[in-house]
Symmetry: C2
Subunit: 124 residues, 2 copies
């Protein structure tokens, strides 16, 4: 797995989940993939897969975790915790503008500098 | 990245996309993650991230591809092609039953033997 780009955002403390975020920022994709971005259009929703690059390494004690919105521990596969066996995150964002290999988007919940692994259509 | 489990399916030619699939099969998760599955319930929809383990290595010629449902090439990030820079797939399946560390599910579009990377709530 190798990053295809990086998230750029001016917000040091982004919302905890894309579904409650209207934070804007950029997905700066490596220009070598520019042709692969050709059909992504403003107004579209896309899935972003990324690396939770600042998370601690997963250990047995992380099998269940207490989500910030609950009082009880839940199995990690029923949470969106960044501390998971494979530290892959999923967000759904709205594309506002495409400028070369940079996508201006709304709905970020990732940290600035987050490595991007893939972009996919939302329910193609 | 290390698989957390494997897809088991009796269908050698699964539907091309989860959104048009009612194929049933199993997600056999490594028993060491059993506790992490504790809150996944029958009736729930979950996101499955997996490896396109049978795909050829991504090359420049794959930047655009002609999807099976279209006549024109599209940028790979606007397709669900298994041939992508990072070969990660995303499916959404319905949980029918949980038996130990095995989830019986409906909506498979993966091949038998597909390595599973992560399970997430669908729009938590």
């Amino acid at each position: 797995m190798r990053p295809i780009g990086v998230v750029r955002s001016a917000e040091p403390d982004p919302p905890r989940h894309w579904s409650v975020s209207d934070l804007e920022g950029e997905l700066r994709i490596d220009p070598r993939y520019r042709e692969a971005l050709a059909d992504i259009c403003p107004g579209e929703r896309i899935v972003v897969l990324f690396v939770f690059h600042r998370s601690p390494r997963f250990a047995r004690r992380h099998l269940t975790q207490v989500p910030p919105t609950r009082n009880e521990p839940r199995g990690v596969f029923s949470t969106c915790s960044p501390v998971r066996p494979n530290p892959i995150g999923l967000s759904v964002v709205d594309v506002l503008r495409v400028d070369g290999a940079t996508l201006k988007v709304r709905g970020l919940d990732m940290l600035d500098g987050t490595p991007i692994l893939d972009l996919k259509p939302w329910k193609d």
